[in-house]
């Protein structure tokens, strides 16, 4: 198999143009940490962006960072940390869940539109992704967006590139908005709530002016797996609410939140270090990483519907799951089966709006099942036309999202 390791934008162009000329399907990877996500592909060559790495512009006071697409996330995150800044959307490191060595590259982070617990307050990668340079499936160099936050010049192509899993264009460089990292954090913990009550508690917290930056519910079985002693020692479910910011503000909001939640039970408080450890586990889905044989689904629904969806799934199959995004994100592990529980999840009457993505499954299942939420006919046709617009020969990660 031919592997292209481009070292410049021009190299990418040459490789893609060659593939287009020869109608050769190309697998596009950053460093390959998410190769096992998506439908199984038949490709004849691959284009590996890992050699195209390095930060090209970082101006902390301008809140902007540009880098070659193959830059490791760890490199970018270390540079940000030195300046007490961060990607505010808190991209998860799925390496434990997917069994890879590291978190991957900025290209992969973008192509998967990652978002962590702070999604409810700060958005996803797409909300911070300001611009890119790249090569479309036509073998042509193009760019969109810029390096400034406020920009409505032309279509916002950054949005569709984020979450396109390398199927529309090969990015050579990306520009992100970055933000100050909070000085400190605390987590308010309410123990022993059932899923429905926990959902109401999280809604009450989110509706307050406490500026909650993480709202998750760990059912008893999941909470017991936590490496944070204060959580595993509960011996019951844990509903956890994170507050971040400057110390006096966090302290004030913690007291206020405890008052708001008093009707749901007594609250305990995790200080900065255990709080940070806990949200890393939640963000990186550690709880479902330990049983690599299970299928893992990521389900995004309206926050108040999450517990109904999971209850319906629980009626039909064995499931280990927890909630993030105030109930709107369910990470669920189910036993391997021919149907992968796809119908159980997507066909559930409770799932009136939202989408389910099969994040971890053996290649065979990923060839047989729709990994991404199937779309209604009109939208599916529009998606196909959009793919065609960027990649008329269908050579970029063909079939990874849709057949």
């Amino acid at each position: 198999m031919t592997v292209f390791r481009p070292e410049s934008l021009e190299h990418i162009k040459d490789a893609v143009a060659w593939a287009a000329d020869n109608s050769t399907p190309l697998e596009i990877t950053g460093s390959g940490t998410k190769r096992a996500v998506g439908r199984t592909m038949q490709t004849e060559a691959s284009l590996d962006l890992s050699g195209l790495a390095g930060i090209t512009l970082y101006e902390p006071e301008e809140l902007v960072l540009s880098a070659w697409a193959g830059t490791l996330r760890s490199e970018a995150e270390a540079a940000l940390k030195k300046n007490a800044q961060q990607f505010a959307f808190e991209p998860p490191d799925l390496s434990r869940l997917l069994g890879t060595e590291h978190a991957g590259t900025l290209a992969g982070m973008t192509a998967a539109n990652l978002a962590g617990p702070r999604r409810i307050k700060a958005g996803a990668a797409r909300d911070h992704f300001l611009g890119f340079h790249g090569v479309s499936g036509r073998g042509e160099i193009f760019r969109s967006g810029g390096r400034v936050v406020k920009n409505v010049t032309g279509y916002d192509l950054s949005k569709v590139l984020a979450g396109s899993w390398g199927t529309l264009a090969v990015m050579s460089s990306v520009t992100y908005k970055v933000l100050p990292a909070p000085e400190t954090q605390k987590t308010v913990v309410v123990a022993g709530l059932d899923d429905a009550t926990a959902t109401s508690a999280m809604a009450a917290a989110m509706k307050s002016s406490c500026e909650v930056s993480g709202a998750a519910h760990l059912p008893a079985g999941v909470a017991s797996c936590s490496a944070v002693a204060d959580i595993s020692a509960i011996g019951n479910s844990a509903t956890v609410l994170r507050l971040e910011g400057i110390a006096p503000s966090v302290e004030f909001r913690k007291d206020k939140l405890i008052r708001i939640l008093s009707g749901f039970g007594e609250s305990a408080v995790l200080e900065a270090v255990p709080s940070s450890d806990l949200w890393t586990e939640i963000r990186d889905v550690h709880y479902l990483a330990s049983s690599p044989d299970l299928l893992v689904w990521r389900i995004s629904v309206p926050p108040m519907d999450g517990q109904k969806v999971l209850a319906a799934i629980g009626q039909a199959t064995e499931v280990t799951a927890f909630y993030d995004w105030a109930g709107g994100l369910i990470w669920a592990a189910v036993p391997v089966s021919e149907h992968g529980s796809a119908e159980i999840i997507r066909g559930s009457a409770a799932m009136t709006s939202g989408h389910a993505t099969l994040i971890r499954a053996p290649a065979g299942l990923r060839a047989a099942l729709p990994v991404f939420q199937p779309q209604p006919a009109s939208l599916a046709a529009l998606s196909a036309r959009l793919k065609q617009a960027f990649d008329p020969k269908g050579i970029l990660n063909p079939g990874r999202m849709y057949p």
């Binding site: 592997v3 390791r5 070292e7 040459d14 143009a17 060659w18 000329d21 020869n22 006071e61 902007v64 007490a84 978002a115 409810i120 958005g123 797409r126 909300d127 036509r138 160099i141 760019r143 969109s144 810029g146 400034v148 936050v149 406020k150 920009n151 409505v152 010049t153 032309g154 279509y155 916002d156 192509l157 949005k159 569709v160 984020a162 396109s164 933000l179 100050p180 809604a203 002016s209 500026e211 910011g245 302290e251 004030f252 909001r253 629904v301 309206p302 926050p303 108040m304 709107g328 989408h355 209604p376 009109s378 939208l379 529009l382 998606s383 036309r385 959009l386 617009a389 960027f390 008329p392």
Partner: protein, 498 residues
């Protein structure tokens, strides 16, 4: 109209006007179709009043079904369609076409659902931006993006333009606050994107639609995020002896890890115009004025006010005033919010520009503008969303003096070119529309623009939705779709293969 060239109208459509109006009446009966020239005059321009055109016919549908049927009819009969919300666009996005149907969404004015538990509201596109906040504020909620036209502009228009406001750095633009859309394609197909959940499934069409200026589809329903209002807000009014020092102060505030709810800057001409108009107590000797608003819990705001004051003083601020009451905070803002009408008082006309620049380029851009001001012999006043780099130069001119409008437009174009030159963009929140259409090549190559236009083709292959806007050159989709043969080169000696 000055030098704008729009697509050549189709004579057959002009001749068939009566029949088209009759056909459309079968879809939208009674007052749903307006074709009397006198009545259509109300629709001849939007907020960019330098350009006017009476449309072929105005259609005012009331239901998604009617929008779908109107679009299907237009698609079948090759009739251009210009969608219009409240008509407040500053870039001519809703400028009618002589041979086009103007599709007004004004009757879509209902708030359909408010869902506090899921923290969102489902509204029709004709609902005004401010009406959303008004509908939820009794529960302590609000809708964050607040363009200055918020009393009049519609949420559908906000989606089309990706509208901003003064709180964008902290709370985002429209695109960061919309969860779902119902939209109709030019073929009449109704599509739902997103919903009350996070992230649009598949390709992010929701993000693509936001800011697409009515070229991709017609929005018929919007689901927006609503937020709990910050507990308290206080503002600082800071005067500086130079704009460079004001700019440095903004950079230092951000470097200190402080993201203010709003950070607005005004230059001396804007300060004077505003002060003469509303008597907000602005320091008239200052070369630059900064309003910094901090919002959140009281403990946090008090703490940050002190830090920002110190940073201001270390940047040689002459005046540092902290609002001691809500009235005083509102007074600080009064001058800034009235800046446009205030400038309107000191000049018969003004032309508002909308570039965005990397913040640290502000002194260079301001100096450049002073030079241009001398060259074009026109005055300029500046208000600046300092937090996010969005600059609004107001060029003062008199339309009754021959040549002044053209000079103002040339001056504006030079400013935008300078914005692009220093790493910025042509438009931060007003949109390209017709106004900046011909400047697009300053920022994008032909290949860049072709990639955008092919997206247009995926949505609207006959180029019927809002043609003549955003893109300087119309290309047929078939021509754009053609692939050039590269000659089947095989060798890539410079690419290592393993």
């Amino acid at each position: 109209m000055s030098r704008l060239v729009m697509p050549e109208p189709n004579g057959a459509l002009l001749a068939g006007r009566a029949r088209i109006a009759r056909d459309l009446r079968t879809i939208c009966p009674g007052e749903g179709v307006i074709d009397a020239p006198g009545e259509m005059k109300a629709y001849e321009s939007d907020g960019l009043t330098a350009y006017r055109q009476v449309p072929l016919v105005v259609v005012l549908p009331e239901t998604t079904q009617q929008v779908s049927e109107v679009l299907r009819y237009c698609h079948k009969n090759d009739i251009p369609v210009v969608p219009r919300g409240a008509g407040t666009s500053l870039s001519g996005g809703a400028l009618p076409l002589e041979d086009g149907v103007l599709l007004g969404l004004g009757k879509f004015n209902r708030i359909l659902e408010i869902d506090y538990d899921n923290r969102c509201a489902v509204v029709q596109p004709g609902v005004t931006n401010l009406a959303i906040t008004q509908a939820v504020e009794h529960e302590g909620f609000y809708y964050a993006p607040d363009p200055s036209s918020q009393i009049a502009c519609s949420i559908g228009g906000n989606v089309a333009e990706n509208a901003g406001g003064v709180h964008c750095l902290k709370y985002g633009l429209t695109t960061n606050n919309v969860l779902g859309l119902e939209m109709v394609l030019i073929t009449g197909e109704v599509i739902r994107l997103g919903g009350k959940h996070m992230d649009c499934e598949g390709y992010d069409m929701l993000g693509l639609m936001t800011g697409s200026e009515g070229l991709l589809g017609v929005v018929t329903e919007v689901t927006v995020r609503i937020l709990q209002k910050p507990e308290t807000a206080r503002a600082l009014l800071i005067g500086f002896p130079s704009s460079a020092q004001a700019g440095q102060c903004v950079a230092d505030v951000i470097s200190a890890g402080i993201i203010a709810g709003g950070m607005e800057m005004m230059d001396k001409p804007a300060i004077h115009a505003a002060e003469e108009f509303v008597h907000a107590g602005y320091p008239l000797e200052a070369e630059a004025l900064l309003i910094v608003e901090l919002d959140g819990p009281e403990a946090e705001v008090d703490h940050l006010i002190d830090r920002v004051s110190q940073i201001a003083k270390s940047n040689a601020a002459d005046t540092v005033r902290v609002s001691q009451s809500e009235e005083e905070r509102m007074a600080f803002w009064a001058g800034r919010k009235a800046a446009f009408p205030a400038v309107g008082r000191i000049s018969p006309d003004y032309y508002c520009m909308d570039g965005t620049i990397p913040r640290n380029q502000l002194p260079r851009v301001l100096a450049g503008m002073q030079e241009m001001s001398r060259k074009y012999a026109l005055r300029v006043a500046n208000v600046f969303h300092a937090g996010d780099g969005n600059l609004h130069p107001l060029i003062l001119y008199d339309a009754n003096k021959p040549g002044e409008l053209e000079r103002a437009e040339d001056f504006g174009a030079d400013i935008l070119k300078l914005c692009v030159e220093v790493g910025g963009v042509l438009t931060g929140e007003h949109g390209v529309g017709v106004e900046k259409r011909d400047l697009m090549p300053e920022m994008f190559s032909e290949t860049d623009l072709a990639h955008q236009q092919r997206v247009k083709c995926a949505f609207d292959d006959k180029n019927l939705l809002n043609p003549g806007k955003v893109f300087p050159t119309l290309h047929r989709c078939a021509e754009l779709g053609r692939m050039h043969i590269h000659g089947g080169r095989i060798a890539f000696p410079d690419i290592p293969r393993f």
